[in-house]
């Protein structure tokens, strides 16, 4: 006689429908190629059709890419879809560590992942990524020669990542408030700048900078003595710090509205601060040297769509897109042919200011990566920056 718990059944049914709709949505998320007719990509496309495209042999389909927001351009993706039928599914990461953890667990569900300098060999060491022959990619000829022979990207089986961009961390300061012009990381502990410094909230990177400031021999493996020195440096620095930021926007805002006088930033800060309506600021690499990133795209081991990686790079890593990327994001890339395009396009002055044509500077930096005495570094950092 039970007519059942009708309302609850109804609710259950709608839940099931919702879940079913989701499954349908998910499966439709890996669509077959739709050769969208006549989509007009922006100018860069024109010159590209000529290049030999071995990609035409590859079946159209998806390519799963885990990367940063500045490594992809939606117009480039549209072009890749139109010309090669490859639909790039982008998912984004904010942190190397998170990306590493994810790729470790999901493996081939991701085809291509981006990583910073010393994370690249780490991925490979953990059997997460494959080496490849860089020269098999025609577009790699457009790279600076120095980028084709990074020692940390080289393994016996081949190259570990397709080099993308780089930037050193600079000391950015407002000359109106900060004088004399700082030339050393010691400026961070100058009591004149109480609550006027903004840095990115990356404990290990901060420790690397501090290692430079105290002159430690091996930035990644400070001895206990050096760690103690680093700790007292941090303690002196703490009152000077206004905030540790999660996003670049906050640094630029702080510099622009005058609440911060000093910041550590990637290349391009002066331009961005000016764009944001702020005062003119200068950027300098301190004499002790600096850290920075070099990033690249890696092929994941067991990638389901591995054969679409090369065709994608052949298109999206072309000079025209690299030049566009530089204009949009304002940090140098390793594509040499793009520099000529930028010069021709009237952007030489800006490119030079951003050290575009001097990629060898990248090798003078201590490169970002994991490894070393990470646990002790974080513990030391927590000791100082805890409550």
């Amino acid at each position: 006689m039970t007519r059942g718990y009708r309302r609850r059944d109804f609710l259950k049914l709608s839940a099931a429908t919702g879940a079913g709709a989701l499954v349908a949505a998910c499966s439709s998320n890996t669509p077959a190629a739709s050769p969208g007719g006549g989509a007009s990509p922006s100018a860069p496309a024109a010159s590209m059709s000529a290049g030999a495209s071995p990609s035409s042999a590859v079946a159209a389909g998806p390519l799963n890419f885990l990367t940063w927001s500045d490594h992809w351009n939606k117009d480039a993706l549209t072009q890749v879809k139109d010309m090669d039928g490859i639909v790039v599914n982008v998912s984004e990461l904010s942190d190397n560590a998170d990306g590493f953890a994810k790729v470790k667990q999901v493996g081939g569900q991701i085809d291509m992942v981006s990583g910073d300098a010393l994370w690249v060999p780490e991925y490979h060491k953990n059997a997460l990524t494959d080496a490849f022959d860089l020269n098999s990619l025609q577009v790699s000829q457009q790279l600076y020669p120095i980028a084709r022979s990074f020692e940390f990207f080289t393994a016996s089986e081949g190259y570990l990542a397709y080099p993308w961009g780089w930037s050193p961390i600079q000391l950015v300061y407002n000359p109106a408030n900060v004088s004399p012009a700082p030339d050393s990381w010691q400026a961070l502990v100058d009591p004149k700048y109480k609550s006027r410094i903004v840095m990115e909230n990356q404990p290990v990177d901060i420790m690397l900078l501090v290692a430079k400031a105290i002159g430690a021999k091996d930035g990644y493996n400070m001895t206990d003595d050096e760690l103690a020195q680093a700790k007292s440096f941090l303690e002196k620095m703490k009152p000077n710090i206004l905030k540790l930021v999660a996003q670049n926007t906050e640094t630029i805002s702080a510099l622009a509205d005058g609440s911060a006088w000093i910041a550590t930033q990637n290349l391009g800060a002066p331009d961005r601060v000016k764009d944001a309506g702020g005062p003119p600021v200068d950027a300098v690499v301190p004499k002790e040297g600096t850290t920075g990133f070099i990033d690249g795209e890696m092929r994941v081991t067991g990638a389901e769509n591995a054969d679409r990686i090369s065709p994608y790079l052949e298109r999206a890593a072309q000079a025209e897109w690299a030049a566009q990327n530089f204009i949009d994001n304002g940090r140098p890339l390793f594509n040499e042919a793009a520099y000529k395009l930028l010069v021709d396009g009237g952007n030489k002055e800006r490119a030079d200011r951003y050290l575009y044509n001097t990629p060898e500077v990248a090798l003078q930096m201590t490169l970002k990566g994991p490894g070393g005495r990470v646990q002790e570094y974080i513990d030391t950092f927590n000791s100082v920056f805890g409550a």
């Binding site: 953990n126 906050e250 005058g258 994991p370 990470v374 950092f381 927590n382 409550a387």
Partner: protein, 301 residues
């Protein structure tokens, strides 16, 4: 489902034929599946990790208590944890103090249809990105923000005030802002069923309005108040985004320290500290269990 089937003699629940006890629990099964399959099992992995060590970014099966010892040996963790508890208590009290009059007004003086609308109006701002709202707050409270510009143009201050930015006060304000809707919704859900006739009865018996509120209404909505307290207090212990965005170096909470380990791929270290915090909260809930009771006291007919 202690309702009685039609047609049977009226019997109190105490006397009706008892179903097998586990059968009565069937509505809990889906939730149990979620709890076990999506929470306890994955968590078990992290619990095991917390007793292992990290070598070269990999968790290796070397049993160790070092991750737990770290919490007690380095006093920064205990200090930060104590501060977090303090902040959580303060925010909980404030959020409830603000949410209660708001919910009372809603239930007492607003028609039912408009109650739903106001609730939606309260919650919809929280469907926008939290990051964007914090940036907006900084535009209001920041050095060149609206408030400072207003105060300066009125001549009240000559230099931008840095009172509100990047310190504990900012963290407190933003946390109250973020958790207010949860407290309000929890209190509303309970307050809505409160029978205001009881006020009249209380007045007949000679009570003043404030006495009526204190001795009649508050006890009646105790489950709602307790729920609101849980909704605000417990998540704050895991809160790291707000301190990171508006706390500067002063407003650090314990989860920020935990995150630092996770960002360095030091899962055992981070998990251990997180579990110590969770253990403490469990302890609190056990100690205060008398106030948290939700089971019905079954009345015999």
């Amino acid at each position: 489902m202690t309702a009685i089937r039609a047609g049977e003699a009226v019997v109190s629940p105490a006397v009706r034929p008892a179903r097998a006890p586990w059968l009565r629990l069937w509505p809990f099964v889906p939730a149990a599946l979620v709890l076990v399959g999506l929470f306890l099992l994955p968590l078990a992995i992290m619990v095991v990790y917390s007793f292992w060590a990290t070598r070269d970014l990999n968790v290796v099966a070397e049993w160790t208590l070092a991750n737990y010892v770290r919490f007690f040996s380095n006093d920064t963790y205990v200090r930060t944890f104590a501060k977090t508890i303090g902040m959580a208590v303060l925010v909980t009290a404030t959020a409830i103090a603000i949410a209660l009059p708001f919910a009372y007004f809603l239930v007492r003086y607003v028609s039912r249809r408009w109650q739903r609308i106001v609730l939606l109006a309260v919650i919809v701002p929280f469907w926008t990105s939290y990051l964007l709202r914090v940036y907006a707050w900084q535009a209001i409270l920041g050095e060149r923000g609206a408030i400072n510009q207003l105060l300066m143009s009125l001549g009240l201050i000559h230099e931008p005030s840095r009172l509100f930015v990047y310190n504990n006060v900012a963290v407190f304000i933003v946390l109250v802002y973020v958790y207010f809707p949860f407290a309000a919704l929890a209190i509303y859900a309970s307050l809505e069923k409160f029978d205001f006739n009881l006020f009249r009865a209380a007045q007949d018996l000679g009570a003043r309005p404030d006495q009526a509120i204190r001795h009649v209404m508050i006890p009646a909505i105790r489950p709602g108040l307790v729920t609101a307290a849980i909704f605000v207090f417990v998540p704050i212990l895991g809160e790291y985004l707000t301190p990171a965005l508006v706390g500067g170096t002063e407003g650090v909470l314990i989860s920020n320290l935990i995150i630092n380990f996770f960002r360095g791929v030091q899962y055992p270290a981070g998990s251990a500290i997180a579990f110590i915090i969770a253990a403490f909260v469990v302890l609190l809930l056990v100690v205060f269990r008398r106030y948290l009771r939700v089971e019905d006291v079954v009345t015999r007919a």
